[in-house]
């Protein structure tokens, strides 16, 4: 397979994640969509590690770092979600509007 096929697949997954993050109402789903976008970026790292201008395993190392940071982000995001649910009794994104009015 060529490089552009992998990049196009990553682009499609990124667009799905972006659309979900912009339109979904449940905070858990928004967080999952962000994880999907990070996964699309990881596909790009690994694809460039094989088919890029300088092939090598450094792309894999960067993908591993990105996975670690994404895991930390998911943990903190879900803790914030639990704290928000405890104070407002809801998980809907558009009801988190205390700073807006």
């Amino acid at each position: 397979m060529t490089l552009s096929a992998y990049l196009a697949l990553a682009l499609i997954l990124f667009c799905i994640g972006l659309y979900g993050a912009l339109t979904k109402r449940n905070t858990v789903i928004v967080l999952i969509c962000i994880e999907l976008m990070l996964n699309a970026v990881n596909i790009n790292f690994v694809a460039f590690a094989k088919y890029g201008a300088h092939p090598g395993v450094r792309g894999h190392v960067f993908a591993l770092f990105a996975i670690a940071v994404a895991a930390a982000e998911a943990a903190v995001g879900l803790a914030a979600l639990i704290a928000f649910y405890r104070s407002r009794k809801t998980v809907q994104v558009d009801e988190a509007n205390s700073l807006k009015h």
Partner: protein, 173 residues
């Protein structure tokens, strides 16, 4: 059409089908399970790209850990009126504007990557990748590796502090 091509198309189809199913479903638990298919498809693609270690990490972290904590978060916050409520923010216009912007972004990037090719045949990664990754991580990338461990520790403590009950609330019990 070689076997690699067929495997690529099947795995890509599984990944994209998982994502689209996730957008269509209304039950939150089903959406998370649909995403597992996407994560497993991506792990298969990593194997095709001769990144076996990243594929195993993907299965462990994404299909295992992150899915499970998302399910826990759903179960801790779920209430029954969820399924009858609307699932998306805003109205038709909001969704239409979001869809058009995302499609425009996708097309713009696609025209950039359509003909991208560096002429690499992909033979550079044959052999003992895991050993090479380990050597790189513990020599050239030692400092980033240690910083990532600090980030994970800070995220762990931060998550506990954020999710902990307030002093007043906990004192009531």
């Amino acid at each position: 059409m070689s076997g690699t091509d067929i495997a690529f198309f099947l795995l890509a189809l599984a990944a994209i089908a998982g994502g689209v199913t996730m957008l269509q479903l209304t039950n939150v638990v089903h959406m998370v399970v649909a995403l597992v298919m996407t994560f497993l498809g991506i792990a298969g693609l990593y194997v095709l790209l001769s990144a076996e270690f990243v594929a195993v990490v993907q299965v462990l972290i994404y299909s295992g850990a992150i899915t499970i904590i998302m399910l826990f978060a759903i179960m801790l916050t779920r209430h029954h009126r969820d399924e009858k409520e609307r699932q998306t923010t805003g109205g038709v216009w909001h969704k239409a504007v979001a869809a058009i912007s995302v499609i425009a972004f996708g097309l713009a990037v696609y025209f950039g990557i359509r003909r991208l090719d560096f002429g690499a045949d992909g033979s550079a990664l044959a052999g003992d990748n895991v050993k090479t990754i380990g050597k790189l991580l513990y020599s050239y990338y030692t400092i980033p590796f240690e910083i990532v461990s600090v980030i994970l520790l800070v995220a762990l403590i931060g998550a506990i502090v954020l999710a902990k009950k307030d002093g007043k609330e906990a004192g009531d019990k």
